[in-house]
């Protein structure tokens, strides 16, 4: 327990000492939040209704999908994991503690978003706080699981950015954060169902904001939860201590994490389209 506490304290401080992590955890989500608050409301009046959940999801995506993987890959490439191995640091700690630390940082950023969203931009607050917190925790688990999995399977730092952006950019554009899913063409709505952001947004809207989503949002929560558990299990299974000269398990297996989303895209009904104004 003492080892876990030291490890966690170190990881948490690293988030503050490391400029890149600081950027991903705080500067990018908060900067984007204020920019959207001042500009987007005029462009898209719907945006204000879901501004708080959308910006919270954005903070989690940037902190965990963009921020978490890179330090893991760099640590493996620079031999830090080798030092960890010879000093009895378990693989599970290497994967879980950065996720836990990222959760604290992302929660601080999310609190700022919720408070300033309501006070500065008059964005509506959640009507049901308990579901809001529970959904938030499930999304944290999902995003951190995916971030850790990307960090484990990426062969190099350069590839990591590519993998992260494969989730991050589509989530931003078609995940329902900037514009409601219903405003997308049907084919794109289906594709959006392959992204965790769309289920996260629906779960926030349906369970915490009191808005209709066209299906029981608990299905979305279940999909996120299963995906999170799959992601952590796969990350642990595919974990490698060394980037050179050691046999690594096939990273293609990581695609299994998409299974719950594929099932969701096939089985869950799409919302009624809203025409552009």
């Amino acid at each position: 327990m003492r080892a876990f506490a030291y490890h966690f304290a170190f990881e948490f401080h690293t988030g503050l000492r490391n400029k890149t992590l600081l950027l991903m955890m705080y500067l990018l989500p908060l900067g984007f939040h204020f920019m959207m608050g001042f500009m987007m409301v005029d462009i898209n009046p719907f945006f204000l209704e879901t501004m708080i959940p959308a910006m919270v999801i954005f903070a989690l995506l940037s902190g965990m999908i963009l921020g978490l993987p890179q330090p893991l890959v760099e640590a493996r490439e620079t031999g830090i994991f080798r030092s960890y191995k010879i000093n009895e640091v378990p693989a599970a700690s290497i994967l879980v503690i950065p996720a836990l630390s990222a959760f604290i940082h992302a929660t601080i950023a999310s609190l700022v978003i919720v408070l300033t969203g309501a006070l500065v931009f008059n964005a509506p607050l959640p009507v049901n706080w308990l579901p809001f917190v529970l959904v938030y925790l499930v999304i944290v688990l999902t995003c951190s699981g995916l971030g850790v999995l990307i960090g484990v399977i990426s062969a190099s730092s350069r590839v990591t950015v590519l993998w992260s952006q494969l989730i991050y950019l589509p989530s931003m554009m078609a995940g329902g954060l900037m514009v409601p899913l219903q405003m997308l063409p049907e084919a794109l709505m289906r594709v959006a169902r392959l992204l965790p952001a769309s289920y996260a947004m629906d779960a926030f809207k349906g369970l915490a904001m009191g808005m209709p989503v066209g299906y029981d949002p608990l299905w979305g929560v279940l999909i996120l939860l299963v995906s999170a558990l799959l992601a952590f299990a796969l990350a642990l299974y595919l974990f490698s201590w060394d980037s050179k000269n050691t046999a690594r398990r096939n990273p293609i297996l990581a695609l299994l994490v998409l299974l719950p989303y594929i099932l969701g895209a096939i089985l869950l009904p799409l919302p009624e389209p809203i025409p552009f104004m």
Binding site: Y6, H7, F10, I80, R82, N87
Partner: protein, 301 residues
């Protein structure tokens, strides 16, 4: 003394490169065992297989009854490792690193090691701000913080200044006296000669010899270097018994002798007989470095 490490038939191949080829040796309790060899000889791969960082393709390793691949957790509780390239997070502070790894080993951090390794002033410094020598000293402090029974040192003095090197050697001797078995991989022949009880020389993945440094140097060409300087330089051109080759310089005459007794006796007799005055006479046994070069040359041939 019992064997604490038994390596037998160790092989490791990377793609088509045979890094370690049928390596076998034992290390006795409480000895400093040197692994010598040129770059690419297989030293680090051998060490990393023993440290549980690489999986051998074949062969057996037994470290105090533990197979590194079957029980790595148990292995890492009895061994300490200073890696050649010590990977630590760039932003971790020296003091944090001591606490962090000690906690995972389940021991209290031995902060006195920082003072011993001249790192006290750097306790609050981040790893990335340390010099190469300081980083290596920190790696050593971390390796011994849980008082391991077996210590692996991979090029421990590389990048260290003279004072730090002397301090490290003192520390190694103290650990040896306390019963720690040390496996030392080094390029530094003087260090190996001074510090090790036995050395194994690796060439192209194979062990070519295992012996004490003294025995090893004795089995070489065996020529002892005798440097002579006299006031009148009367010995120039004279042939002395047991001398196999000689060179004559402006200040010193150099003789390479198979048997120093007759050679030195004859030299002194000659000087006295010719009323010359001895200014300097040096006798230098063949060094481990010379023997190492002989062996690597033979291996290369």
């Amino acid at each position: 003394m019992s064997d604490v490490i038994v390596v037998s038939g160790l092989c490791k191949v990377y793609d088509e490169l045979v890094a370690v080829d049928d390596v076998s040796f034992t290390v006795r309790e409480g000895e400093i065992f040197g692994l010598l060899g040129p770059n690419g000889a297989g030293k680090t791969t051998t060490l990393e297989c023993m440290e549980g960082l690489r999986i051998p393709d074949s062969g057996n390793i037994d470290i105090m009854g533990v197979d590194p691949n079957r029980d790595p957790r148990k292995l890492h509780s009895i061994i300490g490792v200073q890696l050649q390239s010590s990977g630590l997070p760039q932003t971790i502070k020296v003091k944090e690193a001591m606490k962090f790894f000690s906690a995972y080993h389940g021991v209290n951090p031995r902060m006195e090691l920082l003072a011993r390794l001249n790192l006290s002033e750097k306790a609050e410094s981040e790893y990335q701000t340390l010099s190469t020598g300081q980083q290596r000293r920190l790696a050593l402090a971390l390796a011994i913080s849980h008082s391991p029974a077996v210590l692996f040192l991979d090029e421990p003095t590389a990048g260290l200044d003279v004072a730090s090197r002397v301090e490290l050697h003192c520390l190694m001797n103290e650990l040896k006296e306390a019963g720690t078995t040390i496996i030392l991989s080094t390029h530094d022949m003087a260090e190996a000669e001074e510090m090790t009880d036995r050395v194994a020389i690796l060439l192209q993945g194979r062990i070519v010899t295992i012996s004490t440094p003294r025995e090893l140097t004795a089995t070489g060409s065996g020529l002892t270097k005798i440097s002579l300087r006299t006031s009148d330089n009367t010995a120039t051109g004279v042939e002395f018994p047991a001398v196999e080759k000689q060179t004559f310089g402006e200040e010193y005459n150099i003789y390479y002798s198979r048997d120093i007794g007759p050679t030195v006796t004859a030299i002194i007799y000659y000087i006295v007989k010719n009323n010359d005055t001895l200014i300097d006479l040096r006798v230098e046994r063949p060094s481990l470095e010379e023997r190492f070069l002989e062996l690597t040359k033979e291996g290369a041939v």
